[in-house]
Symmetry: C2
């Protein structure tokens, strides 16, 4: 049973990629087979896991352009149980290239349904927008994890994100569900963080993970070495938080 989860929020810099990369690694450490799919033209998840986008033969761009070629873009990483479909910069042009194509929002779902293998989880990292690539991530997923940075601007976009989920649920993906809401960059020394956390819990109630990701500079350092937090600094608060999150994700089933 392959659990497909997209990490989405159109607000920029809230920790989508950091969550996609480190949750995937933490699930792999728990011996779950994970496929990480990077559909952001920035290709941060790809470099964050240690892969050079210039050296990959096939990327998510290729398979979205030609869904029948799905399997060939899967690359194994240095982490056991974790594979990736890397992104490439070409993705930036896909929205225009597919503008007249039938079923352009369902391409990623098509790709994932044709990947016949024993993955337990597929984790999809989306860009900071509600365009075609995020739409593909929403149509392909059974559930979404919404990272919310504990700051004001991050709260503002939630209403728009929820109405987008409603629209996708009503049209292309009736089973799309909020799998969980994750509070990120939580800094207990600021009042702002607690105010935002309270608002988010009032709105999302038990959808909010009890694990909060603390602001921890080690999380920001790890990608510069192409490593996940588990391999860069297993003793850090960031690593502990993502290991806890993986347990919660597994328990939610």
């Amino acid at each position: 049973r392959m659990r497909r989860i997209s990490i989405v929020n159109q607000k920029g810099g809230v920790g989508k990629t950091t969550t996609a990369v480190n949750l995937s690694a933490a699930l792999a450490v728990a011996e779950k087979r994970v496929l990480l799919v990077d559909v952001d033209a920035q290709a941060n998840a790809t470099s964050g896991i240690g892969i050079d986008t210039r050296e990959v033969p096939f990327s998510s761009y290729d398979i979205l352009s030609d869904p029948d070629s799905a399997g060939k873009a899967i690359v194994s990483t240095s982490i056991k149980y974790l594979d990736i479909i890397p992104a490439s910069l070409d993705l930036a042009g896909l929205e225009i290239e597919l503008i007249d194509e039938e079923g352009r929002a369902q391409r990623l779902r098509q790709v994932l349904s044709s990947i016949d293998s024993g993955y337990d989880y597929v984790i999809i990292d989306a860009p900071p927008s509600l365009g075609l690539l995020t739409l593909n991530a929403l149509v392909a997923a059974q559930g979404v994890i919404i990272p919310v940075q504990c700051e004001y601007y991050s709260l503002e976009g939630i209403g728009k994100l929820m109405s987008t989920l409603d629209r996708v649920r009503a049209s292309l993906n009736p089973s799309l569900d909020v799998f969980g809401v994750l509070l990120t960059m939580y800094d207990p020394r600021t009042n702002l963080a607690d105010q935002v956390a309270d608002e988010v819990r009032k709105y999302f109630r038990d959808k909010v993970f009890s694990t909060m990701i603390p602001r921890n500079v080690r999380l920001a350092e790890a990608p510069s070495f192409g490593q996940t937090i588990l391999h860069y600094d297993i003793d850090s608060r960031g690593a502990r938080a993502y290991l806890d999150l993986a347990q919660e994700v597994i328990e939610r089933g």
Copy 2:
């Protein structure tokens, strides 16, 4: 002589809106007449300056759909010398709506050239992508300010941004220039910040503003009150930094 500057970087959460709002306010305090233009569907600059997007009759969406209506979307703010063209959520659909329109990338430039008034500066806040709205901001501007968060992922996208600027310069806007590069969320306690700052200075040399914006929670708190940092906490390090930045911007002419 109206100086048109766009605040751009496709990397999310690097401080584009925080810079657009607070630089505009700091220029206004120096008695420069400023028009802040919000072309991000998130409308964060609009709410950051204290305006409710639901209450504005006309927005940047309306004037981009119908450039002849330019003047009617200008709204004065509570800050003397500072007006705004607010955003609205409808902007999210504009890229698709204008897909077949001639000159769709030059609409904002058309709008600004028809605004006949004594603004010294037009500051444009762009979304975290390289789509049509950012393209409009690049075509309409004489120069760009590129905020770079002092973290690794922020470095990665700079090459792509520069090649996009080159393409726009070669086609639609030959005078497009890097007005300045701004280091944001600088935290001197981390090695990472200095490493990134060094890389940025090596690449951009004297384009980098000597003012660095420190990580300062007061900057994140101010928008929840609909206030700029100058009005929320004039004594904060964040306020000092944006006042210094405004001086540098004025000096660069």
